[in-house]
Amino acid sequence: MQQTLPQPTVATARRNARARRAAQAFLGHALLAIVAALFVIPFIWLVITSLKPTNQIFTDPLIWIPRPILWSNYTSALTSPAFPFLRLLSNTLFYALLSTIGTVMSSAVVAYGFARMDFRGRNVLFGITLATMMLPGIVTLIPTYVLFRWFGWVGSYAPLIVPMFFGSAFNIFLLRQFMLTIPLDLTDAAHVDGAGDFVVLWRIMLPLVKPALLVVGLFQFMAAWNDFQGPLIYLDKASEFPLVLGLYAFQTSRGATVEWNLMMAAALVTTFPIILLFFITQRYFIEGIALTGLKGA
């Protein structure tokens, strides 16, 4: 490049290179900013709409700053009998926390078995475990429902929570991969001192794989928080719904006269805790996805 410039001196070449780098940096940032705007604008629109009076939502031209800014939409939405917020929130927390505890505990124990214990059939069983990750949920849906109905569990959270206490292939795989990176010396030393497997798992292994446990827990917590299909199939009383199903019921209960501003306020309140949680735990979360090359539900 530089050779083709007229009278290339070292100084001008350096200046040109600097200018080109600056231009590239600017273009790179501009491109990033435009794409980021496309991804963020829907969020901004969600916030704006949630603060609008009803008659400013669908207008020509668009209204970007509501007048007046109606903070009261939030109180209206959260106190609406059609959206019993505290009830929905406590249902959601109940589901998300219990299913998280269940899958972290059970998956950790099973992962330890695969990572550290020597037994016949280990490779075959681990292969089967990996294979089930590819199994589409559609093929187990109906018989599982029939089974839980037979247990008398339909209409409660049991079908959504109890299976989580039996491990999940993805989480077992993820935790096993982490446990394999823990040096054998650490666990062997404890075994020599006479510690059994449960003690080694509890005292040594779990503290060492805490970041992985956190990732598994986060994935499950968020999956449960956002789960729509499971609660839709298994729950029938509105008082038992989690937030997302309550929000759906809120939308459909109004029929033709949807109050979009209140819906948006309720939607934002439903989404906010998850986004907050993500910001707090972002580092673990992103590493978790990247490390495994597998994404959570």
Binding site: D60, P61, G121, V139, V146, I274, K295, G296
Partner: protein, 323 residues
């Protein structure tokens, strides 16, 4: 040889029982998973095949009907073919586009710049949003007359389509929603794959005179093929079973009889999984719905096998061998 083995087995006799004890202890650790595998995976999978050959409404025991469900599905249920078409359309567009968007975003993020973490967060954020909220936001933004999107399109002189209210544009609207909300996970996986590419390879290509595009085409893409392969399979499995956004988008899009869920204008958003849900949980026609599940399962297995087969040709594994 045989004497050696027999004498060894004599010596190992107590050892064998120790192996057995070891096995038992390991299976104790594995027991939650083994029970779960049998109760929530193996049994339901087999039972799906059995139910698909019966008439079953849950209240009375399943009654054997042979292949009746499949015959009806293929020859006497126009809605089935509607959902096959809708789901295929959705998959064929959303999977490749989703991969392209995710890879594009990852490439954008794979540069050393200040504030790159902030952009990564911005791109990933929609992946955290519950489907109900996604559809709510986009229902407002995609309003044909006064929505943000069509207002913007009109401003640059383009006609705004009817999106969720139009039979022709409802699926593109759904795909748009899925691109916004579903690219984050694959993007992070691609980004990790990009970071794994050794700088030495790119430097070597640069010294050989490869320009930016050639480096991308002949170094980056081949090294990313395992990641593309993984995201492709996951993408196909997920989009074949698309349910929630289709189910919700149509019950709020202002079509008549809102609240019924999952049809859209002229059934243009009736997805396979939504029809299955209807048959199973609204009409309690479990046998028929199971037949649908079995058909989907078989198609997915065949498709996955085809992709795995094809990977010999296009997926590059380092060291030449399969992992």
């Amino acid at each position: 040889m045989s004497t050696l083995a027999s004498s060894a087995s004599k010596v190992r006799r107590p050892l064998l029982s120790r192996q057995l004890r070891r096995d038992l202890r390991a299976y104790l650790f594995l027991s939650p998973w083994l029970i779960g595998l049998l109760a929530f995976t193996a049994y339901p999978t087999l039972a799906s095949f059995y139910f698909s050959l019966t008439k079953y409404n849950i209240l009375t025991p399943p009654r054997w009907v042979g292949t009746d469900n499949f015959v009806k599905l293929f020859t006497n249920d126009p809605l089935f073919w509607t959902t096959v078409w809708n789901t295929a359309y959705y998959t064929l567009l959303s999977v490749p586009l989703g991969l392209a968007v995710a890879l594009g975003l990852a490439l954008l993020l794979n540069q050393r710049r200040g504030g790159i973490g902030l952009y990564r967060t911005a791109f990933y954020l929609p992946s955290l949003v519950p489907a109900v909220v996604i559809t709510l936001i986009w229902a407002v933004m995609l309003d044909p007359r006064l929505g943000l999107v069509n207002t913007a399109l009109r401003a640059v002189g383009l006609p705004g389509p009817g999106w969720l209210r139009s039979a022709a544009w409802s699926k593109p609207a759904l795909i748009l929603m899925s691109l916004w909300s579903g690219s984050g996970g694959a993007m992070l996986i691609f980004l990790a794959g990009l970071k794994d590419i050794p700088a030495s390879l790119l430097d070597a290509a640069m010294i050989d005179g490869a320009n930016r595009w050639q480096r991308f085409r002949h170094v980056v893409i081949p090294l990313l093929t395992p990641t593309i392969f993984f995201n492709l399979i996951i993408g196909i499995i997920n989009s074949f079973q698309v349910f929630t956004i289709a189910f919700i988008a149509t019950s709020q899009s202002g079509t008549a009889g809102s609240g019924t869920g999952g049809a859209g204008p002229l059934n243009s958003l009736l997805m396979y999984m939504v029809l299955l849900y209807r048959n199973a949980f609204r009409y309690f026609d479990m046998g028929y719905a199971s037949a649908m599940a079995v058909v989907m399962f078989v198609v997915l297995v065949l498709l996955t096998l085809a992709v795995v087969r094809s990977s010999d040709v296009w997926v590059h594994y380092e060291g030449g061998g399969r992992r």
